[in-house]
């Protein structure tokens, strides 16, 4: 098969290097052809690989070629060795194994031809590293090439040594490299300098070898040498405080070099967009930063120059901005004059307005670093920072968010909150949680008025309710409770918010609580702060019922709604005798949640005691309410017998599907615990259906790791019927996160003894857990 150049068979006897087309021998020597195995040139192999239509085809082509290459290596053919290695390196880039070429690298490096050496050294850089024993074998070749090779060869050796040289190799070859530092050729010297940097990284003791030449090297004018020398000095200073002190004395010289660069004017040699060798400038500025840090004298020497660079650098292109940016960082890091610091922060502020996104990014990152140390200076740029919130890129807006939150104080809190709340509405989901908690925190620290504070929290709950922390609910109820003048306002706003959306749980919880507490104010109708709203009892109760029955409502939310209904049942009827449901006094801050729950259970228990006390019309009104709640059970008792047993009335009230277990006669049972994960059962026997047992299974997690993919299955004896409803979820977050609940319905008409076997599977701490066990100590009341 002829390739497109048509010279496949003839060209192989002669090798001219693999770049560009080679001239083939027109007449193949038949003897030669029999001895030489025809092999593909690199370009031909590349073409074949590109011709492959599928991954499998490509693999085939490559494997075939690798077999040829292996054979060629085995035969020890020196003529084609470099071409074979070149091909091998190519397929190595594509991800195919190439380790069998390692030895060939050695042979090629040892060859006298430049072409061979070049491929050999490249191969050594790509295929060999410290972990392969073979790498030490090239040390000798490198030594020879360094001391006796021509310049390009010395360059190759240095390049390879600096890329993959191990500590041992570096120790061996340090003398050679040291000699090359002071050779006449700048080409070799600049490479030797960077090789020295690598050697110091590998063998820190070599610092003593390479420190002395630096002074002389700094006097060179060749930019490559200067660049390398600055890098070398920087490396030395970062490694040793003694070296740092030693090099402080070159600060004036560095200042001089930089000044020359800056004032040189336009020179074609090293300039990029009109800035003279920005790379060298940046390196010098970096070194100055290290030398001037915490050192008055050096910082003073640099002051003028830094001011000069800061004001004179052309900022229309990226190169100038790179230098300017580095200057700003240096100014902020050393002991610079106050005026200079302000100048630097202002430059950063200007950067924020730059049309180039890269520059805005770099500026935001730096301002974030400076906001602690130079707060007032950064404050001046607050408007620009806030503008950056509108950035479309998530990373950029995240930085803008962090910076904005850091800049909020009592004087700008209203304006900032407005911006941040607008941001919250449109920000990407992964920033929501941070934004919400940031806003709430800032609101707590700087709220000008209570009403503003309530409004702010309300807004956050409406916009990003699912992303707020758990204590937000408690905080808000505390806040509202304490602001008596705002009760009417709060309840009205919360009612409106709830009417619109019952899915955001924290909002629903607070709203339910508020309605329960201040429902009378809500129904009273008027409130100065917002428009008068006519709300009647039916609407309020309907809303609460909706919350109670919604599948989106968590058990805790249902608890709130239930309590609210109970409170309303007395308040709306105008009965003041049921003192137990009076308006709540303000609770203590820590653990209001716990207090509320305690109050709820206390109230429920007390209600049950109070049930026989109210007069007849009272009772029927109470039960009329129940009609609204549960139409299904309405026909069951109407009017109901006033059950003297406390449990009965309570169970009527609470006989609704998926309701959290009341402090019922049947005690809860903890059936499982493992590494902080617990499973609890609670039991309900609805009185109108004695064969039915409702078990609510609750899985909680107090460990440090999340529980995911949680599945609970159950089995009962054959005489019983079991129905599992869908669980509330399959994840229980760590540290007491939202539990999973699941309802089991068990029909036991024959009152057979209840036995229950559970199978749990879940992932916890990156392990799959499976537990199968039978529940012991099932209470008798659950089946008798």
């Amino acid at each position: 098969m002829l390739n497109r150049k048509g010279r496949r068979w003839g060209a192989d006897a002669c090798v001219v290097g693999f770049s560009g087309g080679g001239v083939g021998a027109e007449f193949g020597d038949p003897l030669r052809e029999r001895m030489v195995v025809p092999s593909l040139k690199l370009q031909d192999l590349i073409e074949e690989i590109r011709g492959a239509k599928t991954q499998a085809q490509e693999r085939e082509v490559i494997q075939k070629e690798c077999a040829h290459i292996r054979a060629s290596f085995r035969d020890g053919d020196p003529v084609h060795r470099h071409r074979q290695l070149a091909k091998l390196l190519y397929v190595h880039m594509l991800g195919y194994p190439a380790h069998f070429g390692q030895m060939e690298c050695l042979k090629l490096i040892a060859s006298s031809r430049f072409t061979d050496k070049r491929v050999g050294y490249l191969g050594a850089m790509l295929l060999l590293d410290e972990r392969h024993d073979a790498h030490l074998l090239i040390t000798n070749s490198i030594k020879n090439d360094l001391s006796q090779g021509i310049q390009p060869v010395q360059g190759l050796a240095l390049c390879t040594l600096s890329t993959m040289g191990s500590a041992e190799m570096c120790r061996d070859l340090a003398p050679e490299v040291e000699k090359l530092l002071l050779q006449p050729s700048p080409y070799v010297r600049k490479k030797a300098i960077l090789t020295a940097v690598h050697m110091i990284r590998k063998v820190p003791e070599l610092s003593s070898v390479f420190l002395p030449p630096c002074a002389q090297l700094l006097h060179e004018r060749h930019h490559g040498i200067l660049l390398g020398t600055i890098t070398l000095i920087t490396e030395l200073c970062e490694r040793s405080p003694a070296a740092l002190r030693h090099f402080r004395k070159v600060v004036p010289q560095l200042v001089h070099i930089l000044r020359t660069l800056v004032t040189m004017g336009y020179s074609t040699e090293h300039s990029i967009s009109g800035v003279s060798d920005p790379f060298l400038q940046v390196q010098i500025l970096r070194l100055l930063r290290i030398l001037g840090r915490n050192h008055e004298e050096s910082s003073e020497t640099m002051n003028d120059l830094l001011a000069q660079v800061a004001t004179n650098t052309d900022t229309s292109r990226n190169a100038g901005n790179a230098v300017l940016f580095e200057t700003v960082l240096t100014i902020m890091d050393i002991r610079s004059a106050a005026g200079l610091r302000v100048l630097a922060v202002n430059i950063l502020g200007r950067f924020l307005l730059n049309s180039d996104r890269n520059i805005r990014y770099v500026a935001l990152t730096s301002l974030l670093r400076l906001v602690q140390s130079d707060h007032s200076a950064v404050q001046r740029h607050r408007p620009t920072v806030v503008e950056c919130l509108r950035e479309t890129d998530a990373s950029l807006s995240r930085r803008a968010l962090e910076l904005s939150l850091a800049l909020v104080n009592s004087s700008n809190v209203r304006a900032m909150m407005q911006e941040l709340q607008a941001f919250l509405e449109s920000c990407p989901p992964d920033l929501r949680a941070d934004c919400a908690s940031g806003i709430l925190l800032a609101a707590e620290r700087f709220a000008p008025t209570k009403r503003w504070h309530i409004d702010t929290i309300l807004h956050v709950l409406t916009t990003a309710g699912t992303h707020v922390r758990d204590d937000a609910v408690a905080n808000l109820t505390q806040l509202i409770g304490g602001a008596q003048e705002l009760h009417a306002y709060s309840v009205r706003r919360l009612y409106n918010a709830l009417a619109e959306d019952i899915s955001q749980q924290p909002l629903v919880q607070v709203a339910a609580w508020c309605i329960g507490e201040y429902g009378d104010l809500l129904l009273a109708g008027n409130c100065e702060e917002i428009e008068p709203l006519q709300v009647d009892e039916e609407e309020v109760l309907a809303l609460l019922e909706k919350v109670l029955q919604s599948h989106m409502s968590l058990p805790a939310t249902r608890g709130y709604a239930l309590t609210a209904l109970m409170k309303l049942s007395t308040r709306l009827c105008g009965d003041n005798k049921a003192a137990i449901l009076e308006k709540m006094p303000l609770v203590e801050r820590d653990g209001p949640q716990a207090d509320e729950e305690a109050k709820e259970s206390k109230e429920a228990a007390q209600l049950s005691e109070a049930a026989p006390v109210p007069t007849e019309p009272q009772a029927s009104q109470l039960l009329d309410l129940l009609d609204l709640l549960d139409g299904a059970s309405g026909d069951v008792q109407h009017p109901p017998p006033l059950d003297p047993s406390p449990g009965g009335a309570l169970i009527h009230l609470l006989d609704l599907p998926c309701v959290p277990p009341p402090p019922a006669p049947i005690p809860d049972l903890k059936v499982f615990e493992r590494e902080g994960v617990q499973l609890n059962l609670s039991f309900i026997r609805p009185p109108e259906n004695p064969a039915l047992l409702l078990i609510t299974v609750t899985a909680t997690n107090f460990s440090e790791g999340d529980v995911t993919h949680f599945i609970c299955q159950a089995a009962v004896p054959k005489s019983l019927q079991l129905q599992l409803q869908a669980p509330s979820g399959n994840t229980v977050p760590a540290r007491g996160g939202l539990p999973i609940t699941q309802l089991f319905r068990i029909l036991n008409p024959n009152k057979a003894p209840l036995r229950l076997k559970l199978r749990l599977t879940y992932d916890h701490f990156h392990q799959s857990v499976q537990e199968i066990f039978e529940v012991n100590n099932l209470p008798v009341e659950s089946w008798q």
Binding site: S19, R32, L42, R118, N144, T195, E269, D277, R286
Partner: protein, 175 residues
């Protein structure tokens, strides 16, 4: 320090991979894939910096990239490098390639990846910037080309290794 320099096309096919720290072959391939994944998702108009992926990342490292026609040039650097400076460096690299190949395009990089390695080696060495003057780099590359061409074609009985600086050959092509 520059940790790695990667060039790949719009479909993720690697055109050049140079690592300045030792990574196993598998890790290298994974890094290439991961980097492509991260970089190809970016819009055209966002800024050119990315936090590094899991493998070559860590809080210190960044990916700085530029997109030229069908190729992505990605430099993975640590915090000691100037981000804006690296952007310029990538530009110089591409301009140098352009000078050496005359209107460089992806095909040039595909068929002459060894040359690209040589050019890169004149700019970045051991993860540090060596030379940014385009003329110097191109001069050096031309000198190497000449050296290559001046070496007479080899025949199978290659003389044993010479230790002299000058390579003296007798005889030319063996027909």
């Amino acid at each position: 320090m520059i940790k790695a320099i990667l060039i790949f096309n719009n479909h993720g096919k690697p055109r050049l991979s140079k690592f300045y720290q030792p990574y196993s072959e598998d890790t290298q391939q994974q890094i290439i894939r991961e980097t492509f994944h991260l970089v190809s998702k970016r819009d055209e108009n966002v800024y050119n910096f990315l936090e590094g992926g899991l493998l070559i990342g860590g809080s210190d490292n960044k990916l700085i990239y530029r997109h030229y026609a069908t190729l992505y040039f990605v430099f993975c650097v640590d915090s000691s490098e100037s981000e804006l400076g690296i952007l310029d460096l990538i530009q110089i690299f591409v301009e140098t390639l352009d000078k050496c190949f005359e209107n460089v395009c992806e095909l040039d990089l595909i068929f002459h990846v060894d040359k690209v390695h040589n050019i890169l080696a004149e700019m970045v060495m051991a993860g540090m910037v060596l030379e940014t003057n385009m003329n110097e780099i191109v001069t050096q590359i031309d000198a190497q080309k000449k050296l290559e061409k001046s070496e007479p074609r080899q025949h199978s009985e290659t003389p044993s290794l010479l230790k002299n600086k000058k390579l003296i050959w007798r005889g030319g092509v063996h027909l």
